[in-house]
C-alpha cells in the first residue's frame, strides 16, 4: 500500500462524506433555478443533518433491534461503496474488497435492511413503502447488473479499477453499446435514488411516497444517518456513472500526489454538471404512476441488455 494509494483512499472517502449533502443541495438549487423559484441555501442539508444529530431519538416501543441498527448498517454500506468506486483514483486499497457485482450486492444490503426496518414498526405506510421499494428494486437491480456486465464484457474484468482504466484508454470513437448502457444507467439511477419520474423526493403525500414512506418513523441521529446515506447513495451513483462513461481525469494506477489532487476539481466539476442534468430531467418529466414504473425499468433493462448484445455482435 503506497502512500499515494492511502492518500487517494482517504481523500476520496472524505470528499464523499463531505460533498454528498452539498450535491443534494446543488441539485435542489438547480431545480429551483429551472423552475424560476428561489432555492434555500445550498448548505441546508448540512444544517438539517447537524440539527438532527442534536435531537433526542424517539423510538417506538414495538421496535426490534433491527430498527435501531439499520441506520448504521445503511450508512456503513454507503460509505463502503464510496470507498470502492473510483472517483478520484483507481489505486484504492479498499478496491479489493468488492468488484462490480459485489457493489450491487452492497446496495442491495442497504435496501433489504431499510425495508425490514420500515416493516418493523408495523404501520401501514411503512409496509407500503417497503413493498414499493422492493418492487422498484426487483426491477432496477437486474438492469444495473446488466449495465455493469456490459462494461465488464468490454473490459474483460469485473474489478472496478480495471474497468475504469480500460475505459479511460479506449480510442475516441462511437460505441453504441456504451451509449445504450449509459441511458440505461441513467434510468436506473433515477429509480434507485428516488427521483422523478419514479418518486418525488419533495412530496408530502404519504400515498405517493416510496422512499420517504420507509423512513417516516425515524428521528434524530437515526434520521440524520439515513439522510446522509441517501445523499451518499446519489453521490455514489453519480460517481459510478462518471467512472463508467466519463472516466477521463481520474488518476490512474500508482499516480503521484499531484495527479490525485488534480483529479479533485475535475470530479467536482463533473458532479456539478451531473447535478444540473439531473435537475433538468426532474423538471422536464412528470412522476409516473406506480404501475408504469415496471415499464420504465423494463425499458432500462432492455437497453442494458441491448447494449450487451450489440457489444457481443458488433464488437463495439
Amino acid at each position: 500500500m503506497t502512500p499515494s494509494a492511502l492518500l487517494s483512499q482517504v481523500l476520496q472517502l472524505a470528499m464523499a462524506l463531505v460533498l454528498a449533502p452539498l450535491l443534494v443541495g446543488w441539485v435542489d438549487q438547480c431545480r429551483a433555478w429551472l423552475q424560476n423559484k428561489r432555492a434555500p441555501s445550498m448548505l441546508l442539508p448540512y444544517r438539517m443533518i447537524t440539527k438532527l444529530f442534536h435531537k433526542d431519538a424517539v423510538v417506538a416501543e414495538s421496535a426490534s433491534p433491527i430498527f435501531r441498527v439499520t441506520p448504521y448498517i445503511v450508512f456503513a454500506a454507503m460509505v463502503l461503496a464510496a470507498a470502492i468506486v473510483p472517483s478520484l483514483a483507481t489505486d484504492l486499497p479498499f478496491g479489493r474488497a468488492a468488484d462490480a457485482i459485489a457493489l450491487v450486492g452492497v446496495f442491495a444490503l442497504a435496501r433489504v435492511f431499510i425495508a425490514l426496518a420500515a416493516m418493523d414498526i408495523g404501520t401501514a405506510f411503512g409496509s407500503m413503502g417497503a413493498r414499493r421499494e422492493m418492487f422498484i428494486g426487483f426491477l432496477a437491480e437486474p438492469a444495473l447488473l446488466m449495465v455493469l456486465f456490459t462494461a465488464s464484457l468490454i473490459c474483460g474484468s469485473t474489478s472496478l479499477p480495471t474497468i475504469v482504466e480500460t475505459l479511460a484508454h479506449r480510442d475516441i470513437a462511437i460505441y453504441p453499446s456504451l451509449a445504450f448502457a449509459g441511458v440505461a444507467f441513467t434510468m436506473v439511477s433515477l429509480a434507485e435514488n428516488a427521483r422523478i419520474p419514479i418518486d418525488n423526493p419533495a412530496t408530502h403525500l404519504e400515498l405517493t411516497m416510496i422512499h420517504e414512506a420507509m423512513i417516516l418513523e425515524y428521528s434524530a441521529r437515526h434520521l440524520a444517518l439515513i439522510e446522509w446515506a441517501s445523499a451518499l447513495k446519489l453521490f455514489n451513483y453519480s460517481c459510478i456513472g462518471l467512472a463508467l462513461f466519463l472516466p477521463f481525469g481520474i488518476a490512474e494506477g500508482s499516480a503521484d500526489w499531484l495527479a490525485i489532487l488534480g483529479a479533485t476539481p475535475i470530479l467536482i466539476a463533473k458532479l456539478g454538471v451531473g447535478g444540473l442534468a439531473l435537475a433538468l430531467v426532474e423538471t422536464l418529466s412528470a412522476k409516473l404512476r406506480i404501475f408504469r414504473a415496471p415499464e420504465f425499468l423494463g425499458t432500462a433493462f432492455l437497453l442494458a441488455v441491448l447494449g450487451m448484445l450489440v457489444n457481443q455482435l458488433l464488437g463495439s
Binding site: R170, D171, A173, I174, P176, S177, A179, F180, P294, E295, G298, T299, F301, L302, L303, V305, L306, L309, V310, Q312, L313, L314, G315, S316
Partner: protein, 222 residues
Amino acid sequence: MAAIPLWAQLINLLAAVLLLLAFAMLAQRRVLTLLNLFAAQGLALTCSTAIVAYATKQPHLYWSAGLTLLLKVAVLPWLLHRLVRKLDVKWDVERLINIPTTMLLGIVLVVFSFNLAFPIAQLASTVTKATLGIAMASVMLSFLMMITRRKAIPQVIGFLAMENGLFFAATSATYGMPMVVELGIALDVLVGMLILGVFFFQIREQFDSLDLQHLEKLREVE
C-alpha cells in the same frame, strides 16, 4: 482492439439505432408517435445505405438510398398520416400482452436472431456483415409487433417495419439487391399501402371501428 474506420462505426451506430427504434415501436402507446418512429427508422436506413454507398464506392446504392428516402420517409408516412387524420384515430394502442412481457419476448427474439445470423455473417464478404444479426432482429421484432397488436394501423406499421428490416438485411449482407428488384419491391410496397388505405375505409365503413376483434368472426367450425 483495432480501431475500425469512422464510416464502419457510423454504420454500427445506425444499426444500433435501428434496433432501438424497433423496440421503441414495440413499446409505443400512441399511434402518431409510432408513425414518426417509423419515419425515423426509414431515415436511419437511408443514412446507412448512403454511407455504405460512399465507403464502398457503389453509385447504385445512392439511388437505392434516394428511393428509400422518398418512399419510407416521405410518401408512406405522409399517406399514413393522412389516413390517421381521416379515420380520426389517435387512440392509445391496445395490445394482447402487456409492455414488459412484450419487451422480454423481444429480447429473447433478439438473442435468437443474433444466433441465427452469426454463421451467415461469417460467410459474408461485406464490411457490414456484423449488422445482419441486427437486421434479422428488427424483422423479428416487427413480426412480434404485428402479432401483439389489436388495431389495424399498428399491424400495418409492423408489416412495413418488417420490410425495413429486410431491406437493411439486404444492404448489410449483399450491398443491396439489383436495382430492378428494388424498384419492384418499392412499387409493391407503395401499391400495397394504397390498397390498404382503401381497405381501411371499407373496414371503418362496415364496423365503425378499426378494432381487429371485429375481424375475428370467421372461425373453423361455422
